[in-house]
């Protein structure tokens, strides 16, 4: 029997494209397919929030311009404007502010845990993690795509909210360092959203079950936020706005990186 066997060196070259890992760009499509519910939902809410903040914000800024232009301030007509601004306009400004503050909690609960935990729960990781791209790149690509999208959206919303809320800083006598304002301005909001997402993903990978991960992530995120509000911020080495923002964004970013590293380590450890 004659068997043709090419020499070993030729075998390597002849192995062809199957031995190269699949390209990263393939993960764009996979992430879209697997998470289109999340991506569509978050995009719809984002667009609605931008539209709402723009429309209401323009009206509030218009009313505030009228208020500041009204002189002398003791005139009954100007007092009337002031009363109106502090009641009707303040309500229109207060509730969106509260809603935006609550968004990272919802991100922590709904966006993070299903990313890895759903595969583990449904046992589809046996298929997904044995594809050409490999489980580490699979997870890293998904986290990078979803995480950066959420962070960019959060940053945009926080900048828009800062513009939206600017008139109330004077009328409600708030400062940049008031906790509710500090949370939603500068880099803080985007950093908290990213941390919320990474916390959810890590706990999902750790607990391997979506619903318990959602509950635990909620508890962990609320505890972290409360600890920061009531304790940590008092012990920062700086106490003016931008240095504090940079410090907070810094440690939140470090925490997010650690959580992502932890997630990838867990993903590597699981026997498929």
């Amino acid at each position: 029997m004659t068997v043709f066997t090419p020499p070993a060196s030729q075998l390597d070259r002849a192995a062809g494209p199957e031995s190269r890992p699949a390209p990263w760009s393939g993960m764009l499509w996979v992430t879209w397919r697997q998470h289109r519910g999340l991506l569509i939902g978050v995009s719809v809410v984002f667009c609605a929030a931008v539209a709402g903040l723009l429309v209401t914000g323009l009206r509030i800024h218009h009313d505030y311009a009228l208020l500041t232009a009204c002189r002398p301030a003791a005139l009954p007509a100007c007092q009337g404007l002031s009363t109106f601004f502090n009641s009707t306009d303040w309500h229109e400004g207060e509730y969106p502010h509260i809603a935006v503050q609550g968004a990272p909690v919802l991100i922590a609960m709904f966006a993070g845990p299903p990313v890895v935990a759903r595969e583990l729960e449904a046992r589809t990781y046996r298929y997904a993690w044995t594809q050409g791209i490999g489980r580490v790149r699979w997870t890293a690509a998904k986290l990078a795509l979803l995480g950066s999208l959420l962070t960019i959206m959060a940053f945009a919303i926080s900048q828009l909210l800062t513009w939206f809320f600017a008139p109330f800083m004077t009328t409600q006598q708030l400062t940049d360092l008031t906790p509710t304002v500090f949370d939603t301005s500068g880099l803080s909001y985007a950093a908290w959203t990213l941390t919320a997402f990474c916390l959810g993903v890590f706990l999902g990978a750790l607990l391997r079950s979506t619903l318990p991960a959602m509950a635990v992530t909620l508890g962990a995120y609320v505890s972290l936020a409360a600890a920061t509000w009531f304790y940590l911020r008092d012990h920062y080495p700086v106490n003016t706005f931008w240095p504090m923002q940079l410090f907070e964004a810094g440690w939140l970013l470090a925490l997010s990186a650690a959580l992502i590293a932890g997630t990838i380590w867990l993903v590597r450890r699981y026997a498929a």
Binding site: G37, G41, P76, Q79, G80, F110, P114, T210, L211, P212, M214, A215, L218, G219, V222, A226, W229, F230
Partner: protein, 348 residues
């Protein structure tokens, strides 16, 4: 071949009997033990915090009881006590109060949404619903057992929170009848928990997926809370009065709390509607005087105006609680009936 046959005995019942209800208690425990263990554990942990912090708050509050609420009448020692209380105890209590508002929907959504939806999502309903116990009975038993457990736990937690929050009702001049305090006390807090649970179970059957049902439960519950808030001012317990002086009497800690003033309007001489801007100017003039010699009511009376208030006295707290808990209970039962109907009529 010899075959032994026994004729059918007339007294024997050969029709299959449905499985007795008490078996469902065991099935519910096995299926729901994660929820049934986790919810009491989390509530107990928060309860420990409430007890520890609440004892401190009550201790600080006892020192304040002899001080008047009106800042203009406080001595230096009283003002200092109040300011310490408002900077150390109140911010944390306020945050806890806001989080407790979320407790009913979180408990209800996490317990209710996966109740039936998880079996549908996993496909295990094909096994579970074809057991000896009919599918409607399974659903009714699970809803009833879990519903009763959650109501009892929520009621106990609500009572503890009411005790915790009681000092702040006086120091922050919050009426027990207003949204935050009313919905987290008495029988309305467990009623909201039950409604959230019922919404979760119903949406779980409707949407057949756990996480969309969870998200939808949060949205629907928010709508129910806002609706309850809007409805509360329409309950047939309001009083209209022209005696505005009685409101200052609610400031002492021995009173059952502050009244809820729904609206204020002014009439001129002879009961005719007053010129609002004229009244507004008069009030601003009065408020700009730091040491008034007469009360605001007298000032208005001198100009022929009468202040009318539509308000709810704090003594009407329990009638309002019963009205609200009543319609919430009806809503919850209707949703559970809808859930059982969906179980019966959905092939899957």
């Amino acid at each position: 071949m010899n075959v032994l046959t026994l004729p059918a005995q007339p007294g024997q019942d050969t029709a299959p009997r449905p499985v007795p209800w008490r078996r469902m208690a065991w099935v519910t425990w096995r299926q729901q033990r994660a929820t049934l263990i986790a919810v009491p554990t989390v509530l107990a942990a928060v309860a420990v915090f409430l007890v520890v912090f609440g004892l401190k708050a009550h201790h600080d509050y006892a020192a304040l009881l002899n001080c008047p609420l009106d800042q203009g009448q406080q001595s230096n020692a009283c003002a200092k006590l109040f300011s310490t209380f408002n900077s150390t105890d109140w911010p944390l209590a306020n945050t806890v109060g806001i989080l407790v508002q979320l407790a009913p929907v979180l408990i209800g959504a996490f317990a209710g949404a996966p109740l039936l939806a998880r079996a549908l999502e996993n496909g295990t309903y094909r096994f579970a619903w074809t057991q000896g116990l009919m599918r409607e009975r399974q659903a009714i038993a699970k809803l009833a057992l879990l519903g009763v457990t959650l109501v009892v736990l929520a009621w106990a937690f609500g009572e503890l929170f009411s005790w915790f929050f009681q000092p702040f009702l006086w120091t922050e001049q919050i009426s027990r009848l207003t949204e935050g305090a009313f919905a987290s006390s008495g029988i309305v807090f467990p009623a909201f928990t039950l409604v959230a649970f019922a919404i979760g179970a119903f949406l779980g059957m409707l949407l057949r997926r756990v996480i969309p049902a969870l998200a939808a439960t949060l949205g629907v519950y928010l709508a129910v809370r806002l609706g309850a808030w809007a409805l509360r001012g329409q309950y047939p317990v309001t009083v209209v009065t022209s005696n505005a002086n009685q409101f200052s009497a609610f400031g002492t800690p021995s009173q059952p709390g502050f009244a809820w003033i729904l609206s204020t309007w002014y009439t001129g001489p002879g009961g005719k509607p007053a010129n609002q801007s004229a009244v507004g100017q008069l009030l601003e003039q009065y408020q700009s005087n730091p040491h008034p010699t007469v009360s605001v009511g007298q000032t208005l009376a001198e100009h022929g105006y009468t202040e009318w208030n539509r308000w709810i006295p704090p003594s009407h707290y329990w009638p309002m609680q019963f009205i609200e808990a009543g319609w919430l209970l009806v809503l919850a039962v209707a949703l559970m009936a809808g859930t059982v109907w969906l179980v019966r009529h959905r092939a899957a």
